[in-house]
Amino acid sequence: MRISCPFCGERDHSEFTYGGDASVTFPELDASLEEWNDAVYIRSNPKGVLREKWQHSGGCRIWLVLERDTLTHSISQVEPVRLTISELVK
């Protein structure tokens, strides 16, 4: 796979580290156990488009959110997770 890092350009996915489902919202640190259980353990695991985190660990180390199809591996969107960085890129 090839991933377009907004800083470094298109690179092999092996330069990146997978960070899992980005659609999970982690609750406040003192939220309820139920909320934490859901965030830590439950995954929608779609066969199709998944929002997921990748870190460009072998490059600029930025954390990205990809929209990637888990069946075809086609990537439709790549953007930095941290909004301030998104603005920086623009």
Binding site: M1, D12, T17, G19, V40, Q55, W63, H73, I75, R82
Partner: protein
């Protein structure tokens, strides 16, 4: 057995003869030969034995689809088994050997298997070899013989002596195959300005043109080819790779190529054997041609039975006649071309066509060349054993049987476009009844099949197809160019007639390499293994090195016939990468272990080695385990070093600890959330021991964290977890708490770190360091100070895991060796010395610290005896999840100290802690570390024990170690063995 070389002709350099050997016999070929063409030229028609029945086998093809001519090339460490004679370029001194036969190729004892043929049908082994008895013992007995009988070539046992290279590459368009279609696609695309890579498996460009005798664009095929090659080689934006196979197309246009680098055996240059190219191509044109299919008839595997087009290739390209008189059996027009060329070369040729009639230019050309044509006849059975002596033919119902004497049989059962690369992408091919072939399916992948790979048969049409493919790629990549249309698939004057199966006599092979017969297919289907994939697995059809190139479509047709369905309804099996077998070595590249997991060396590495350190790998770092004096054992060494530290002072390289600089106005708040204990309130100039939990509330890592400025912290991690913790901090900052103004930066490589421990630590440091006071008041326990060593800035923290007075000295990495040497001189003057990781851990164990084995990813803070560290005032990562009921259970395994009940007894790490009678199951816990304590004069250990100290302190348990055949009684004690009040620490 009368293959021979023509006096003239062929694309050979007859001025450059090549010596080679086959089964020890010295033979000669020419530059331009393949091993197969050279063998045939020397009349070597029997080259191997079949997998299951050990039937004699010859050369069946002239390409990658070869099923039979698998030889071992080279010997000793360089022996390469299962090498296709048909694609192996002949080179000076090549040694080839037949395999899978004993004692010799001609007298192979394995032919005895043929006596048992009736019992050895598909899947026979699933129905027997189960007894006597009910256990696996019986099968183990039979299996030994089966394993010995199976396998083809024998791999060398020696390490592969060769080197492999790895190249990364990029292009706009990758063209796979350099026949008329591929050449033209490359020409058009590069002409339009694309960067093109053209790869060809063969050592010559041209594909089908290499055996073509009909002119193209009014010039001979070889002249046309030469002019095209000249143009392409002159083009600046095209790279041509011959001897290169595209073995797989992966996601997003990543294509793997293997280039075979030409070398003669024994050539001791530094050339790699093969080169892996990882190409990122924006688009791919597949012009890989088509593969001719065999026909199914009795003994269709005999040496001398060959694909018709291959027979033609041998005649035209290599000037080799497969025999003196040939029978070509076919169901389609293409065989007429082969027959014509054979006849023109002087081989007496009869063509047997299953169809009732055929006409048109190809037929006329064959007839004009004096080919005798028999219509409405099919092959029934080949005659001869180690070679062909004749062919019995008849009408499709078995009538009118007659025998034609011949010494070579050419088969043409239609053509299969080579779509493996597309199939790898999950693109389903579409069956065309009209062409009796699978054509490329629709896909959104930027891949286009052209030429024969798309079912286009004629040379001119293939060229046009390539032209359209090249233009399409150029347009897709933004170039302006006129787009010619793709020619339609097909191109014969008469329709193909799907092969017929009635009245087959003798063993008729569908998959020649794996000895899968027509009978096996019938058996398998009738037993219910009738889906293509089930049949493949039950019969092993298509599972050989050729991966079903010539057998897959024939098998599908048979399944369809047997189930009374259309081929299109039966489905296909998926082709997997690699397209052709690829050596594991070239995928691995050179020094693969280091490429994958580079060993890391500390700035003090060389200095440690020069002190005689015994190095050991830990978390990718090479660390000094201990500094043996003479032949001192590890046990003696660590105890001596421990005594040295407790008595005087020692220094230890701890540069491998992870070091992360956390900076920013919110750094304190951030660390407050990450660690279980408080760091926001930590004063500048102070360090604190901290533990991080994972989201699920279990312990992740521990280490000290220093506040070196208001907005500036230094987080240290264990050696093993440095990368993990860094990524974790970055993830938290960027994805969960983007509002926090803080950043995490790895500074592990920037600092060398040396730990100093022992009552005389201060004495050691005093004369070396400037800019800081070392007395207890100015620099108390857990203080952090900055100063200079030898004029270079350093940081010192008063930290100790040994329980002794101790410091950690951090200097810039480049000054690590200098600082180490200064300290080394000093420490020796004080009666101390360097110590290693074994001692580092052993000192910590005496003090009751966790040393790694307890942090196994399954323990809670409380399990580790660190529950009191958790702040009740602030939430932190894992603070909710750690409260789950099973994680708060009092009976969980918790950290305890252990001592032997009987003086002088020992116990080993990994022993199971249990009640004395309880000798099965998981017991109550396990021993995580054990050392012989020189301070206490007996063995001590740490364990994890259900219920922990509160339940077991002072009680006796068994440390059961059945794998070593020992068990000892141990007493459960507090893990703080030395100086529990911490007097030395604060001294």
């Amino acid at each position: 057995m009368t293959a021979f070389r023509f006096e003239v002709g062929g694309a050979l350099d007859r001025d450059r003869p090549v010596e080679f050997s086959f089964n020890g016999r010295r033979l000669q070929g020419y530059t331009g030969d393949t091993l197969a063409s050279a063998l045939l030229a020397n009349g070597e028609c029997l080259v191997g034995r079949s997998f299951k029945y050990h039937r004699p086998r010859g050369i069946m093809s002239a390409g990658l689809e070869e099923t039979s001519a698998l030889l071992t090339v080279g010997r000793g460490a360089s022996a390469t088994p299962n090498t296709l004679a048909t694609t192996e370029e002949l080179c000076q001194g090549l040694e080839a050997y037949s395999q899978h036969c004993w004692p010799s190729l001609r007298f192979d004892i394995g032919v005895l298997n043929q006596l048992f043929t009736p019992f050895l049908g598909a899947g026979f082994y699933y129905k027997t070899f189960m007894g006597p008895g009910k256990t696996s013992r019986s099968w183990m007995f039979y299996e030994r013989f089966i394993r010995r009988a199976a396998g083809l070539g024998r791999a060398s046992r020696e390490p592969d002596p060769d080197r492999y290279e790895n190249v990364e590459g990029f292009c706009d368009l990758l063209v796979v195959g350099a026949g008329p279609a591929g050449l033209e696609a490359a020409r058009v695309a590069s002409g339009a300005g694309l960067n093109v890579i053209l790869v060809e498996r063969d050592f010559q460009l041209g594909g089908n043109l290499l055996q073509e005798t009909v002119p193209i664009e009014d010039v001979t095929a070889s002249a046309w080819l030469a002019s095209r090659e000249r143009d392409l080689r002159a083009s600046p934006n095209i790279r041509i790779l011959t001897r290169t196979t595209a073995f797989g197309i992966y996601d997003h246009g990543v294509v793997g190529l293997v280039e075979r680098l030409q070398r003669s055996p024994g050539e001791l240059d530094n050339t790699a054997r093969e080169r892996l190219w990882t190409i990122r191509a924006k688009r791919v044109v597949v012009a890989a041609g088509a593969i001719e299919r065999p026909l199914i008839f009795g003994n269709n595997d005999r040496p001398g039975v060959m694909l018709a087009s291959s027979m033609r290739s041998y005649a035209n390209r290599w000037a080799v006649a497969a025999g003196k008189s040939a029978v070509i059996v076919t169901n389609n027009d293409s065989a007429y071309i082969a027959a014509r060329d054979l006849a023109k070369a002087g081989i007496f040729t009869i063509l047997v066509d299953a169809r009732e009639k055929a006409s048109g230019s190809m037929v006329d050309a064959a007839l004009a060349a004096d080919v005798e044509v028999r219509f409405g006849r099919v092959p029934l059975r080949a005659k001869g054993r180690n070679g062909v002596t004749g062919l019995q033919i008849g009408d499709p119902n078995g009538g009118h049987a007659e025998i034609i004497r011949c010494d070579a049989i050419g088969m043409s059962g239609g053509w299969s476009p080579t779509q493996h690369l597309l199939s790898q992408r999950g693109v389903r091919p579409v069956w065309s009844d009209e062409l009796a072939a699978f054509l490329p399916g629709e896909t959104r992948e930027p891949i286009r099949c052209v030429g024969a790979a798309s079912g286009v048969w004629g040379n001119d049409e293939c060229r046009d197809s390539g032209r359209a493919g090249g233009a399409e790629a150029a347009i897709a990549l933004g170039k302006t160019i006129v787009k010619p249309g793709f020619p339609p698939a097909g191109g014969w004057d008469n329709p193909i007639r799907q092969h017929v199966l009635n009245s087959i006599k003798g063993k008729a092979f569908v998959d020649v390499q794996n000895d899968v017969t027509l009978g096996d297919i019938i058996l398998s289907t009738s037993e219910g293994y009738d889906a293509p994939e089930l049949l493949k697995r039950y019969t092993t059809l298509g599972m050989g090195t050729d991966q079903g190139r010539t057998s897959a479509v024939n098998a599908l047709a048979l399944i369809a016939k047997m189930r009374g369905r259309q081929i299109s309804e039966v489905g296909t099996t998926t082709f997997r990468p690699p397209f052709a077998p690829v050596s594991i070595g070239v995928l691995a590249g050179s020094d693969p272990g280091q490429r994958l997991y580079p060993t890391r060396r500390s700035p003090v590495h060389n200095a440690s080695i020069s002190q005689g350190a015994n190095m050991i790998e830990s978390g990718f770092w090479l660390r000094s385990q201990y500094f043996p004096q003479g032949a001192e054992s590890l046990e003696a060494g660590y105890q001596r070093e421990m005594r040295m530290v407790r008595r005087s002072v020692g220094i230890c390289d701890v540069s491998s600890f992870g070091k992360i600089s956390v900076q920013g106005p919110d750094a304190g708040e951030f660390l407050n959330r990450v660690y279980v204990n408080a760091f926001k309130s930590l004063p500048v100039g102070k360090a604190r021991y901290g533990v991080m939990l994972r989201d699920d509330g279990l312990a992740m890592d521990d280490g000290t964290c220093w506040r070196v400025g208001e907005f500036d912290y230094l987080v240290t991690t264990t050696t093993a977890c440095a990368g993990k913790v860094l990524s974790w901090l970055e993830e938290l900052l960027e994805t969960r708490w983007p509002d926090l103004r803080a950043s995490a930066t790895s500074v592990t490589e920037q600092w060398a770190a040396i730990s100093i421990a022992g009552p005389r630590s201060r004495e050691l440091l005093e004369p070396i360091i400037t800019g800081m006071k070392l007395d207890n008041d100015a620099f108390p326990f857990m203080g952090v100070r900055e100063g200079k060593i030898d004029g270079v800035d350093c940081r010192v923290a008063r930290i100790s895991f040994s329980g002794e007075l101790g410091y950690e000295v951090y200097v810039p990495a480049d000054f690590g060796e200098n600082t180490w040497n200064l300290l080394l001189t000093g420490v020796k003057g004080l009666g101390g010395g360097p110590y290693g990781t074994e001692t580092l851990d052993a000192l910590a164990i005496e003090k009751g610290h966790i040393v790694g084995g307890e942090l196994d990813g399954r323990s809670t803070l409380d399990d580790l005896g660190l529950g009191r560290m958790a702040s009740g005032k602030k939430p932190f990562v894992g603070s909710v999840m750690r409260r789950r009921p099973e994680l708060c259970n009092d009976n969980r395994a918790q950290l305890v100290g252990l001592v032997p009940v009987t003086d002088g007894e020992t116990f080993e790490v990994g022993s199971i802690l249990c009640q004395q009678q309880d000798l099965s199951g998981h017991g109550l816990g396990w021993v995580t570390s054990a050392i012989e304590s020189p301070s206490l004069g007996h063995w001590i250990g740490i364990g994890m024990l259900n219920g922990g100290l509160s339940k077991w302190e002072g009680r006796t348990l068994l440390a059961d170690n059945p794998i070593r055949g020992v068990r000892y009684l141990v007493k459960v004690v507090s893990p703080h063995f030395i100086d529990p009040e911490g007097k030395r620490l604060h001294g």
